[in-house]
Amino acid sequence: MSKFRRFLESRGFINAASSILAIVVGLLVGLVILLVSNPSEAFRGLWVILQGGFGGGAKGVGQVLYFATPIIMTGLSVGFAFKTGLFNIGTPGQFIVGAFAAIYIGVKWTFLPGALHWIVALLGATVAGGLWALIPGIFKAFFNVNEVISSIMMNYIGMYGVNYLVKKNIYDSLKALSQNVAPTAVLPRAGLDKIFYNMTGANNVHDASTVNCGILIAIAMAIVVYIILNKTTFGYELKACGYNRHASRYAGINEKRNIVLSMVISGMLAGLGGGLLYLSGANGRRIKVVDVLAAEGFNGIPVALLGLSNPLGIIFSGLFISYITQGGNYLQRLDFVPEIIDIIIAAIIYCSALALIFKNLVVRLVGGKKKEAEDIAAEAGRAGMSGKGLLPPEETPETPEKELAADQEAETGKEE
């Protein structure tokens, strides 16, 4: 077999190609909807979507990074939980308590000097998110309460609790929003505003993007999560508990502690996401006191699914969703409804669920064997979380021995 053929039939290539195929089909669905809404502008509309963030010049690209930051974090949160056999649907709650903690510290703890202020505020957000996920974790480990239901409850408790605390402590009653944080608590721009700006007006005013060091922190966190999951004994134990709780206990792993820790780490990631968004210092980024769950939290689920729960994949899926969402905003200039983008994203995710069809198609295109395609498709199904949400993980008959074996190898290699 030539090298090129081997590349074409490798898992990585087939996975990536079928993801791209899913995206193409999703965009075709979008094109159909554009044609139905307004045939004469449809192709221009599609071009605007494809251009995405680039439609807004350098500033637009900055905005893509800015809006990608929170969904990468919640995507990491959901993806990390998936990898450890848990379905963390509690990201909206963890996100908003994290945001509250960050804003509270940002407004009140002005005694902290300079850079320490925003760092402490972010740490506060992380701790708050972790604490919020601690409860479903403890309930799961010690009372056998399904983490889906307890984290849905924690979402609402968090939302109402934050509304109450905002009104009591840091309320701007004129605008019905939380107060602005002190300037020292605003995340530094890390020079990114010098890259992502547009010149506007006669005097060439710098119209800078609101992007800040948050995106760098998010990418760094993704790498950290990747290392924890794939390169450490700790991460291996967490994954083992997800695959089979009882077998892990038999192997001498403290499975209760690991379930709690998985939930807490997942919550910390979501909480940090809340801090990163609400400390950006952008205009209007303040907690609204309304009874609506944080959308950034739920958006973590599609980001994680599209990234196949792989931390590095999540960086790209977060950027991609942010990118075409930006395109959707520019779509309004052509009088289209921006919700078309959500329909396209939904179609892409649906297509990525139909892994079998797409992988068969890719394999047929490159001329591989059908059996192999089914193996790969089945594995891709596992990369998500076949319905584990409503199923105690110990009962899922998923046995990704290969992955575990690979991990084992990596580990023994390291110990030697």
């Binding site: 009372f143 329909i343 892994a355």
Partner: protein, 319 residues
């Protein structure tokens, strides 16, 4: 006593949609298909039926219109759930992924269509509520029960209870119910005795789609006068009620009413004499239903009884 009647009457709009949707989810999950798309299906059902009411309300009103709208909601829910069934059953896909896709699609689609077809391009769909029954003749004169159930009610309340009774009979007293449950517990065994697992799972998902669509309408009608492409996360709460009720109809009923009653107290505490004097802010009251559910769960979840094969795609080839 009048406070008690008031609370019971107010509980219905919260508890009945949860009951209907959770029962729907039960059929899907007992057949072996996880359905986290309940929220999206509710939105679709509510959207189609409220749009129907909006278009038809100049020509008819009252119970006839509501009954027709119910049929529209059920049909829309079933149609939409077919997407989930196809992915989950034929394509053996990850059911959380396709469910998430449906949840994302529904509100976007509802807003998009509403803005495209309404003249002024707004996303809310208005409707006039002509469906409240002040008093049911004869039955409302029964002491106690008459005040509790037959005043200020909607026919959807009775429909909810009817669905509960039918669900119990179908699930436990018919051949269909036994087969459905066997597909959720051990599909290979079911297949080996000649049951068509794919068809049973399609039935389960379609029933859940119909009931969830209906639940969307039932939720919107008493609580609002317009539909804004949301059911306030009730689909997820119904999922919680389903797990809380351990996938059993009567326990789902208890769970739905426990939650609905707590929610009623949170929403109407200012109308209850001894609660309104307490110095507790409204946000804290709103947290009570969720905290109470968590506490109850901690004591009742030791033996979870999830259907064994729920969420696992059935593949004839694998044994």
């Amino acid at each position: 006593m009048s406070t008690f009647y008031f609370l019971v009457q107010q509980t219905m709009p919260f508890a009945i949609p949860l009951l209907i949707v959770a029962l729907g989810g039960m059929f899907s999950e007992r057949s072996g298909v996880t359905n986290i798309a309940l929220d999206g299906i509710m939105i679709m059902g509510a959207f189609a039926s409220i749009l129907f009411i909006n278009k038809m309300q100049d020509h008819m009103s009252g119970q006839l219109l509501l009954i027709l709208a119910i049929l529209v909601a059920v049909a829309a829910g079933m149609l939409f759930s077919l997407l989930h069934a196809y992915a989950a059953i034929n394509m053996k896909s990850d059911q959380v992924i396709s469910g998430t896709a449906l949840n994302m699609f529904a509100p976007a689609f509802a807003i998009y269509v509403a803005r495209m077809i309404q003249e002024n391009g707004v996303q809310q769909i208005q409707f006039t509520n002509t469906f409240l029954i002040k008093e049911v003749p004869v039955l409302s004169n029964i002491p106690v029960i008459g005040d509790m159930f037959f005043k200020n009610a909607y026919i959807t309340t009775y429909l909810g209870f009817a669905i509960l009774i039918v669900s119990i009979i179908v699930l436990y007293k018919t051949r269909f119910g036994l087969r459905l449950r066997s597909c959720g517990e051990h599909p290979q065994a079911a297949d080996s005795v000649g049951i068509n697992v794919y068809r049973m799972r399609y039935c389960g998902v379609l029933i859940s789609g119909g009931l969830a669509g209906l639940g969307g309408l039932v939720f919107v009608v008493p609580t609002s006068t317009n539909f804004n492409a949301t059911v306030a996360g009730y689909g997820f709460l119904a999922l919680a009620v389903l797990i809380f009720g351990q996938w059993k109809p009567l326990r789902v009923l208890v769970a739905a009413f426990f939650f609905g009653f707590m929610k009623t107290i949170a929403a109407t505490y200012s109308g209850v004499p001894f609660l309104q004097d307490l110095p507790i802010p409204s946000d804290i009251y709103k947290m009570i239903p969720y905290i109470a559910t968590l506490i109850v769960l901690a004591f009742t979840s030791k033996n979870s009884q999830a259907p064994k094969a729920c969420g696992v795609p059935y593949d004839k080839g694998s044994r």
